[in-house]
């Protein structure tokens, strides 16, 4: 029996299928809410698992667009989903930092993986994946290259963590004054880290700390966050799927 979790995010759609506590298929489509992304992610995850829709006993949707996905038997908030998904990936995790396309959240888990506390960012792009996208556009580089460039920096340039629009102006000023691009990129990563670290400290940092969501793939932000928080941060190559994984696990628990 298969259980599906679909995470309809602001910029991407993710789907995971689980069977007997194992991930048997997944898909990630770079199209989020209001597009054909969720449908495609679901179909592709089924194909990856060699399954058909009739094999799915229960489907749980999460993410910003969870209510718009008509194929779900139930919806859960993305915080609940990321908590479950990360407990599966990192059973010792007590703090989950989830930076998505347009928001950031920090979740405290207890020893049983139950959510004990959480905090969300304000409605602001600073400290989110959207911030990195805007800055990558300003620099005319693919977002995936931010990590590589940040690793080449000699000294991170100071970039505002208060406002994306102000930060954009600062990046342009830094470039105009001749600051090397790697230093600017490192400053951008440090800016995200600074904003999210402040959020994390409101919940309280309990080790093990892990990162979830799309921005977890950016080593520049991960390293800046480790330096700011002073703790190692675990991450998985499946971090972006953690919400969908948590939704699938919830579907499985619900059905038993």
């Amino acid at each position: 029996m298969h259980f599906a979790g679909i995470d309809v995010g602001s910029t991407t759609s993710k789907c995971v299928l689980v069977q007997d506590g194992e991930m048997i298929g997944s898909a990630l489509v770079d199209m989020g809410i209001g597009t054909a992304g969720p449908e495609r992610a679901y179909s592709e995850a089924l194909a990856a698992a060699g399954a058909v829709p009739e094999d799915v006993a229960c489907c749980v949707a999460t993410g910003y667009g969870r209510s718009s996905w008509k194929g779900a038997d139930q919806t859960i908030s993305e915080l609940t989903a990321h908590g479950l998904g990360n407990h599966f990936l990192f059973p010792d995790a007590r703090t989950v930092i989830d930076i998505g396309g347009q928001d950031a959240k920090v979740i405290e888990l207890d020893a049983n993986g139950r959510m004990a506390n959480f905090v969300m960012n304000d409605k602001c792009a600073a400290g989110t994946g959207r911030f990195l996208e805007v800055m990558a556009n300003v620099l005319r580089i693919p977002i995936g290259e931010l990590e590589v460039l940040a690793a080449q920096a000699e000294q991170a340039a100071p970039i505002s963590s208060t406002c994306t629009v102000f930060a954009e102006s600062e990046v342009i000023s830094q470039l105009a004054s001749g600051t090397p691009v790697p230093d600017v990129v490192a400053g951008i990563c440090a800016s995200v880290a600074s904003r999210v670290a402040a959020l994390a400290k409101r919940v309280g940092i309990k080790e093990q700390v892990c990162m979830s969501g799309g921005v977890a793939q950016n080593g520049g932000v991960r390293r800046a966050l480790e330096q700011t928080l002073g703790v190692p941060i675990a991450w998985s190559s499946q971090a972006q799927l953690a919400g969908a994984l948590g939704a699938a696990l919830h579907a499985c628990h619900k059905s038993h």
Binding site: Y64, T80, M115
Partner: protein, 372 residues
């Protein structure tokens, strides 16, 4: 009348204050607007005016930006916006207290932005205790009386103030009973609960007391509905239909509140004996546990915890009006007090311009999961 019919009656008034004001004006009554918070309604009432709450509305802010910076309380901004757009036309005056910095700005801006409706300041003391505090408060009331006499041609009769005080005490008492009854009736939705409190701003208190008593009788005769997840709310306002719908969708039962526009205003009665104006000043002196009232001991967080526990609430939802610095200052001690008491607490930021409540929905849905 059935409970649902009574609740619909409250909703009609709460959803259309302009119609209510029109009704009073057409009946030949004079209306005086009362801005938040703790405006001395008893004085306005005894001078023959209908006190009508002016707490703003969920409207786009356009004209008020001519006077206010962007990052200031949207309750204040929307009051000024509505005033500048003529929504309050017909009112004889507006009384604006001085209990926070934004309110002081509202009063000063109102004088120039809405000259057709006279501004009457109610200047409260920070130190409201002892003779010095009550003397200052009394002087503030005397200024309100003098300004209303000048602005609207009414006369103040100290002998009649005692009658108004009794009417307001009776209303306080019935609203406290309504609050207790609602805690026993989870089938009454968060939106309906809000309507009951909100409608009181737009009705004469003697009329609202009758409606509230009828509701109490109907609730007493009704079997409580199935249990939901009990929570307590705290903040300045919690009346947005979209936000309240989320509470109802998620099966959250507001079993108690510490909301300035709801229960917080009904806690303290006025002494019915002696000099009524002095008694009114004593009432203000006795008020406490509120973000806009000076409290060096910060007793409010403890009160919230005690009330939440007494009502069986499993968590506290802090509904924080953006840029409300008195409430923002109180949030850390409230959070700490809840944490120490083992009560879950979450923060939801709101303002009068919110159109998208998805972030609030996610926070409340997650909070429900935490409570479960």
């Amino acid at each position: 009348m059935s409970t649902q019919e009574l609740l619909r009656r409250f909703h009609t008034v709460a959803a259309a204050p302009k119609s209510q004001m029109k009704k009073y004006l057409e009946a030949g009554e004079k209306v005086v607007l009362t801005a938040p918070v703790y405006t001395p309604e008893e004085i306005i009432h005894t001078m023959g005016f209908v006190p009508m709450g002016a707490w703003g509305a969920d409207v786009p802010l356009e004209r008020s930006k001519e006077y206010f910076p962007a990052f200031i309380c949207s309750v204040m901004q929307s009051i000024l916006d509505l005033g500048m757009k003529g929504v309050y036309e017909g009112a004889s005056a507006i009384v604006i207290p001085s209990l926070c910095d934004s309110l002081k700005c509202l009063g000063q801006n109102w004088k120039y932005a809405v000259p057709s409706i006279p501004f009457v300041p109610m200047t409260y003391p920070q130190n409201r205790w002892g003779k010095v505090g009550t003397d200052f408060t009394r002087a503030g009331y005397e200024r309100v009386i003098a300004d209303l006499e000048k602005a609207a041609g009414a006369k103040f009769d100290p002998a009649k103030l005692s009658d108004s005080i009794k009417i307001y005490n009776a209303h306080n008492a019935v609203m406290r009973k309504v609050d207790e009854a609602l805690a026993r009736h989870p089938e009454i939705t968060a939106a309906q609960r809000s309507d009951i409190f909100k409608s009181a701003f737009f009705m004469k208190k003697e009329e609202h007391t009758v409606w509230a008593e009828e509701l109490l009788a109907a609730l007493d005769a009704q079997e409580p509905g199935a249990d939901k997840v009990k929570v307590m709310t705290t903040g300045i306002l919690c009346d947005s239909p979209a936000l309240l719908e989320i509470f109802d969708d998620l099966g959250l039962h507001i079993a108690a509140d510490d909301v300035a526009a709801q229960s917080r205003q009904y806690r303290t009665d006025c002494n019915e004996d002696g000099d009524p104006l002095e008694a009114l000043a004593d009432k203000f002196s006795a008020m406490d546990h509120c973000s806009v009232l000076y409290d060096p001991d910060k007793k409010r967080p403890h009160t919230i915890v005690e009330q939440a526990k007494a009502r069986g609430a499993r968590g506290v939802v802090v509904v924080l009006t953006k840029f409300c610095d008195p409430e923002e200052f109180d949030y850390p001690p409230i959070k700490n007090a809840c944490n120490q008491a083992g009560l879950a607490v979450t923060l939801v930021e709101v303002d009068r311009q919110m159109r998208n409540f998805e972030q609030a929905r996610t926070a409340l849905e997650t909070f429900r999961d935490v409570l479960a």
